[in-house]
Structure formats: C-alpha cells, structure tokens
C-alpha cells in the first residue's frame, strides 16, 4: 500500500537451531523452551511470530477445526512480471507453505464455542491480500452470518498484494462490506492484530472489529516506518506503530499476551453472545464440560 517498505519478515519465528536468540533482550534460550512458552521469550516476554498451524493449535479446541475453501486459488489476472513473474512467486510460496494463498479460514471451537476463524499467513508473500484473501474472508463472514456464529480474524499482513493491482485494493471494500452485513446481524467480530498488520489490510477489516485487540509489540500502521521518517523529517519514537503506541493513542481496545489470548477471546464472546446468566462463571460452565477458562493447552 501507500509507499510501503518491502516486508522482509525481520522478526522470524525461532529457527531449527537448538538455541534461539531473542531479538529483544538478546538472551539465548533453548528453542524448545521458547516453543513450550508459546513462542514467547521466557526472559523478556518478546512475542515471536507464529505459523498458522501454531496459531490454530494455540487458539482452537483440539479436534474441532474444519478448514473451508482451502482449494481456492488465483491465476495471474494482470500478467504481472517484476524481477519474477507472479505465477512463479505464487508457486514458490505455495510450495513452501503447502497452501494456495495467504489466509486459512474455517470453523472451530474456542473453549467449546463455535467460531468462524481466519488466520493470515505472513510467510505467504508477506500475508498480502489479493482476491483469494478478500474472497475467503468475505465468504467466511457470510457463512458465519448464516450460521449465527462469531468471527475472529488473526491478522498478519504487509497490506494489499501489488501483483494483483487494483483487484487487491478492491478486496478492502469487499471484506468491509461483508463485515457490515455481518455486524448488522448483531454477531460479534473480534480482530486480533498480530505482528505485522500494515497497509490496506490494517486500513480495512483489521480495524473493523467490535473489538480490536493486539498481541504485545505488534507493528500496526498504514505507511512504512522509513517512508514516514523521511516524510516527517523527525526522529520517530521507539514504539512508533507498535501495539503499545496505538493503545496509548486510543486506537485499539487492548493488548493481550499470547498466554491469555484464548481465554480472553472466549470470555469476550461469552459476554457478547450470552450476556445474561453467566456472571462469575467461565465461558463453558453452563455446558459443564470442556476446559476451564484460562487453561491453555
């Protein structure tokens, strides 16, 4: 989007080494230990990026996930070639990710509540939004509206996908219109802004949740930091466009650490969808089964 810098994936998930170095506190930690800690640095709480699979296993009740529209894909509508043809870039991303595009959508349960869920894959061309991402998310909202279930989207994206030109820009409108329909049905949509959420994705469905919550330290903004530095000709604050910066300026509802995310999401959904008769009870207390709130597997 607007003059963004290339998204290089500067804060990768822990690598295959036994040791991993935290980019925040620079301490070395056992990779296994970091993973067991939900890919959060045990020393300083730095949140590493997580894969789609990790995100789903953190957030969704085991055995309840059913992916939808996995087969949806796009060709090369513009015949776009930069240093490489777009189909070659897509093929590469598909080969390394095992999926067709940058979002996974489906239905699963969170603390026993059925929820329509979208998880964006930053590893797939920077999580960029083209027609497939727009179409899958718009349809997810329509499916959730028909089934009368809430939607949660875990956003991670560098913005619109340039290789699909104005088609990708219009997906901002497509998803926003689907959310407008969904909201009119008085069903909750929670946007979880993960690192990074920028450009046209940030400026559309990422900010249209009934609640917009973020993981600590997530980069969230429209224009790139370097461009902003050049334009404004001033030293930017260290936390510029970080979740904490947005919270301080009143732009997001809350920052929720990964350890508390599942419990927090479940509690919000319970409060919004079953506002009476739940006081003091966990989200699943009325059903008398499932995990206790706050327990993360």
């Amino acid at each position: 989007m607007a003059e963004r810098e290339p998204t290089t994936g500067a804060a990768p998930a822990p690598s295959d080494d036994i040791w991993t170095k935290c980019p925040s506190c620079k301490e070395m930690a056992f990779r296994k230990e970091v993973e067991r800690n939900l890919n959060v640095c045990p020393k300083c709480g730095y949140h590493f990026r997580v894969t789609v699979a990790q995100r789903l296993s953190l957030g969704v009740d085991r055995g309840t996930w059913r992916e939808l529209m996995a087969e949806m894909a796009i060709g090369d509508p513009l015949g776009f070639v930069d240093s490489k043809p777009y189909p070659a870039r897509l093929e590469q991303a598909r080969a390394s990710s095992g999926r067709n595009d940058a979002v996974v959508v489906g239905i699963g349960k969170i603390e026993n509540q059925p929820v329509a869920i979208g998880v964006m894959d930053f590893e797939f061309m920077g999580g960029s939004m083209g027609v497939v991402v727009g179409e899958k998310l718009a349809r997810l909202f329509d499916i959730a509206r028909e089934r009368k279930i809430p939607v949660i989207v875990f956003v991670a994206s560098g913005g619109a996908r340039m290789q699909e030109g104005a088609l990708s820009l219009m997906q901002m409108a497509k998803v926003s219109a689907a959310i407008a329909r969904f909201r009119d049905a008085r069903l909750p949509y929670i946007s979880v802004l993960c690192d990074p959420t920028t450009g046209g994705v940030a400026a559309s469905f990422a900010m249209l949740g009934d609640l917009n919550i973020s993981e600590p330290g997530a980069l969230i903004g429209f224009a790139g930091r370097r461009v902003t530095e050049q334009t404004s000709n001033q030293q930017l604050p260290d936390d510029f466009q970080r979740a904490e910066f947005l919270l301080a300026h009143g732009m997001i509802d809350a920052i929720v650490p990964r350890h508390q995310m599942r419990f927090t999401l479940a509690r919000i959904l319970t409060m919004l969808t079953r506002p009476r008769g739940n006081r003091g009870a966990g989200p699943v207390a009325s059903k008398g089964k499932g995990k206790r709130s706050g327990e993360v597997s």
């Binding site: 989007m1 796009i74 340039m162 329909r181 429209f222 001033q234 300026h249």
Partner: protein, 308 residues
C-alpha cells in the same frame, strides 16, 4: 445534456453541449500507462473544486471532523447538481505552491476521512445522493496521521460507504491512489475519466519495492505492470464506465471535460434515484462482492455465498 432522455440538466455547465458518443480519444495511439499517469497528474488538470464550480451551484462547503481539525486535502459540502441537492466530497490537490502545501498535495489526513464520513452520514440522514471525486496519490505518511489513526479512519469509511442507502456515484478525476482513494470509492457506480489512474500503489512506490530501484524506466515499467489505466480497470471489472476527455487531456479544455463528467454523473444518478434504499445497498454490496471473483479457480460449491 444531449442523449439524456430524462431531461436532467447540469445547469452550471458552462461548456457547449458535446455528445459523449462523438467524443474522440486523444490521437490515434492510446497513451502508454506512464503517459496516462502524467496526464492524471498534470498541474493544469481540473480538480474537485473546478468541477464543483463548473457543474454545481449554491455550493456550501462543510469543514472539520469535530474531533481534531479541518483537513484541506478533502473538500466536502452540499450543492445543487441540476435540480437535485447532493452531497459532494472530493480530494483537492491544490494548484499554486502555497495551496498545494496547505492541501498536503491532496493526501488526506485522518481528519479528512472523518469529515467525509460526517458528510456521508448527513446525506444518509436526509436522503441526499452523494457524488465523490477521487484525486489523490494516497494516504499520508506522517507521524500525526498514524497517531490519529488513519487506518481506523479509512476502514470506517469503507464500512460506512458500504452500508449507505442513498445513491452514490464516484468518479476518478486524476489519480486514484490506494486506501486514500478507496475511502471515497465504495460507490454504486464508479466512473473513471479516460486518462485517470486507479491503483493499489503509486508506480514510484511499486518500483521502489518490487524493482528495488526508482528511475524513470522502472517507474514506467511498474505503471504498465499495475494495469492502472481506465481501460484496464474496465477490463478487470472494477469500474463501470470510462468518461471521455477532450483530445489531449482534461487540462486542454476544462469546461468540456467537466461537461462530459457532468453528463455521466447525471445519467447514473437519475437511474439510481429510482431504486429503493435497500436495493441501493444490496446492489453496491453485490458489485464489490464480485470484484476479482472471475479470476478465481477451484471454488467449491460448499463456499457458495448469498447476499440477501
């Protein structure tokens, strides 16, 4: 307005009547993508306030977002377009150096989007059709714009425009750049002037990222690759109609250009005002829901959606 059977007239139009069907493209060879970008950015090209002046009357400008400030990069107000009171919102780039700086070269701040939102809501409350004129390179890259939540301001406008129940017609009159343009662009009908551009990113920005270099050659290559011209967008199914320009571009004969824009706006508005409020919203939803879908492969029946 010849060829307009319903008798609507854009009374302010000061040019002689030109039949759209007979308007000629500028020269035998259509301009290249980068030539179109230059035409779209031409310093003498008519801007929103010129079109308001040439096509509307009794314009009352509305200022401010009631939150922080008034953004001069977006002008908004009420006016008569023909016999009909309308709300009008458009980007204004400015012409003189002083004006361009005052208007931030047409790149809106969050306040601009929020002013637009206020006018959309006003129009909705009183049933006024909305005309938007798009002419911006895109969102502003500054500290203040981020602090005051331009992502929220743009997103809110997309939501708001999607749910309007009044007729909305947008026309790209210069450069339609990224979310800054789309915040005025979720309309029932989207028109583009013949030499206007509409893109997810500027050719310069695209070249810097994908070619890792600026330079005229790369920028021209990016402009071509992005398929940002009006014929391209029509072909991609993203706009409804191309509005012809006077030979050589809109800047060569602003009154004539305005007349052509006015005729197209009037024709579509007269059709849309006959639709019921609920139909207007549904038609707009269907239009944007379909964008790009024809390029998808392997779409299963399970994922069929309904907009009812």
């Amino acid at each position: 307005m010849k060829g307009n059977s319903n008798g609507h007239k854009a009374r302010g139009a000061k040019s002689r009547a030109i039949d759209i069907a007979t308007a000629q493209p500028p020269g035998p060879e259509p301009p290249s993508a980068i030539e179109r970008v230059r035409l779209a950015r031409h310093p003498s090209r008519p801007q929103t306030l010129d079109y308001i002046d040439l096509l509307m009357r009794d314009f009352i400008e509305i200022h401010g977002d009631r939150r922080f400030a008034d953004d001069a990069a977006i002008v908004a107000g009420l006016a008569y377009f023909g016999r009909r009171a309308v709300a009008v919102v458009g980007h204004q780039r400015g012409r003189s150096t002083t004006e361009r700086i005052k208007r931030n070269f047409g790149k809106p701040l969050p306040e601009g989007y929020r002013k637009a939102a206020r006018v959309y809501e006003l129009a909705e409350r009183f049933g006024l059709p909305i005309i938007t004129l798009i002419d911006t390179q895109g969102g502003e890259s500054g500290v203040g714009a981020e602090e005051r939540g331009q992502i929220e301001a743009i997103a809110r406008n997309l939501d708001l425009m999607a749910r309007l129940t009044v007729p909305t017609v947008a026309c790209v009159i210069g450069e339609g750049g990224s979310g800054g343009a789309l915040a005025l662009g979720v309309a029932n009908v989207v028109l583009m002037q013949e030499n206007a551009c509409y893109s997810v990113i500027t050719p310069e920005g695209c070249a810097a990222i994908l070619w890792r270099a600026g330079g005229e050659e790369n920028v021209a290559a990016a402009a071509a690759a992005l398929k940002l011209s009006a014929p391209d967008l029509l072909e991609l199914g993203l706009i409804d109609e191309i509005v012809p320009e006077p030979a050589g571009g809109a800047h060569t004969a602003p009154a004539e250009a305005a007349h052509l824009v006015g005729a197209a706006l009037a024709r579509h508005l007269e059709r849309l005002v006959k639709l019921k409020p609920g139909e207007l919203r549904k038609a707009r939803e269907r239009k944007f829901a379909a964008m790009g879908s024809r390029y998808l492969t392997r779409v299963s029946a399970e994922s069929d959606r309904s907009i009812d």
